[in-house]
């Protein structure tokens, strides 16, 4: 079937199988930041924004995404660069495999709630699993970013 999707601002027309998942589509079109992880819709590695809403691309048929705007980390480099340094400064990145999904969902959080409490951060990012860090480094990184934004 033929579909059209706007991927990172660029209109793409493609012929896809009925059971192709969105994750496979975006990776086919060069967005390799989107990772396949748990296969059970639990880990958040495959997070993309559909019409600015964070979703799991491993659990959506690309056919359903047809006609929508899909954004991956490749399309949000500038927005992400504002705070990923703060994450790195806290040593929160270890293997880094979870990082793109984590960054995507953090962007979604800060767009929805620009000044979240620690509990709100934990709640919003509960669907992003990291098997290295224990999450405290990421939390400290986001807090440091938010504090620096207040100072500026």
């Amino acid at each position: 079937m033929d579909i059209q999707i706007t991927l990172n601002g660029k209109k793409i027309t493609d012929n896809v199988d009925a059971d192709m998942l969105l994750i496979d589509f975006v990776r086919k079109h060069g967005c390799l930041s989107v990772k396949r992880g748990c296969e059970t819709a639990n880990c958040g590695l495959c997070t993309v924004l559909m019409d600015d809403t964070p979703i799991l691309s491993c659990s959506m048929l690309v056919a359903r995404a047809a006609g929508h705007n899909i954004t991956t980390l490749e399309g949000l480099q500038e927005e992400a660069s504002e705070f990923v340094g703060f994450i790195a400064d806290q040593g929160a990145d270890q293997c880094g495999f979870c990082n793109p999904g984590f960054v995507m969902n953090t962007i979604a959080l800060l767009r929805e709630n620009p000044n979240p409490t620690d509990d709100e951060i934990r709640a919003f990012l509960a669907g992003n699993l990291c098997r290295c860090s224990g999450y405290e480094g990421q939390l400290r990184g986001i807090r440091a970013f938010l504090d620096s934004r207040k100072e500026n």
């Binding site: 659990s59 359903r64 919003f124 990012l125």
Partner: protein, 269 residues
């Protein structure tokens, strides 16, 4: 992973219903549970073009389209104000935000899963399921109907005056509940709905009027024991039947006392 031969966005409820009559066709809902299975689907039926993704509210009821996501339920002010935040508490620990942006109320209710926080919570309300073929039926009846090829259009929650409370016990946030407890007081009658027992949710109403007078620690405790005695629990990898009985007592008592506190606050406002 399932394989899908054909994908169709139904353009009417009639079309979706007719397509769904073939055994090998499936309505995909949020697709989160479906994709965990295996097998071949001839036609995947998507309801996303049918405008069922809104929550409509009037003086008498909420009408929740089958494609409304769990995240919409979590954030809906009217629903959460009416239910004393019970709906938000029921869905907030279901995996993560990204998951809840996909999972739909139609899929959750249709599945009638034993672990379902959503089914447990809505069963505590004056709630109805509108099906394309069978019409509007109480959710308590729907929960125990056999699976067929009907189609959920919407969930209707009547604004019958009441108080609600929801809590669950999980080994960790985002996991399935070990036990789930939804409580309601509608027209002065208290009901506890226990989910993840681990079977499909089951309700117990205070037919012995344990809570009819002023509610105290003792009467809340007695009602909690009554609920635990009248709910059949089972064992699985998350907990034993006897552990679940203990949890039912704790969550029911805690929930009743919390609900009474909310009622008193409401009276003072």
């Amino acid at each position: 992973m399932v394989t899908i031969q054909k994908y169709v966005r139904a353009q009417s409820l009639e079309e979706a219903y007719q397509l769904n009559q073939a055994k090998t066709n499936k309505i995909i809902g949020g697709m989160l549970w479906l994709k965990m299975g295996s097998g071949n689907i001839s036609t995947a039926i998507d309801l996303c073009d049918l405008g069922l993704n809104t929550i409509e509210e009037n003086d008498k009821q909420f009408s929740i389209g089958a494609s409304v996501t769990l995240r919409q339920l979590e954030l809906h002010q009217g629903l959460n104000s009416y239910t004393n935040n019970a709906i938000c508490n029921a869905v907030k620990d279901i995996v993560g935000v990204q998951f809840r942006n996909l999972a739909t109320i139609g899929g959750s209710i249709w599945g009638r899963f034993g672990f379902s926080d959503v089914l447990t919570c809505f069963m505590a309300m004056d709630c109805y399921v509108e099906l394309f073929n069978a019409g509007v039926i109480p959710i308590s009846k729907f929960a125990y109907m056999k699976y067929d090829n009907d189609l959920i259009i919407r969930i209707i929650v009547k604004k019958t005056p009441g108080y609600f409370n929801y809590s669950s016990m999980r080994a960790q946030r985002t996991d399935f509940p070990i036990i789930a407890c939804a409580l309601s007081c509608i027209n002065g009658k208290y009901t506890a709905v226990i989910g993840a027992r681990p079977h499909r949710a089951m309700s117990v109403t205070d037919n012995e009027n344990i809570l009819s007078g002023e509610i105290t620690e003792e009467s809340a405790d007695k009602f909690a024991k009554y609920v635990a005695e009248n709910i059949k629990t089972g064992s699985n990898s998350r907990g034993s039947a006897s552990y679940r009985k203990q949890l039912i007592e704790v969550l029911t008592k805690r929930g009743i006392l919390s609900m009474i506190s909310s009622m008193k606050e409401g009276e003072h406002k």
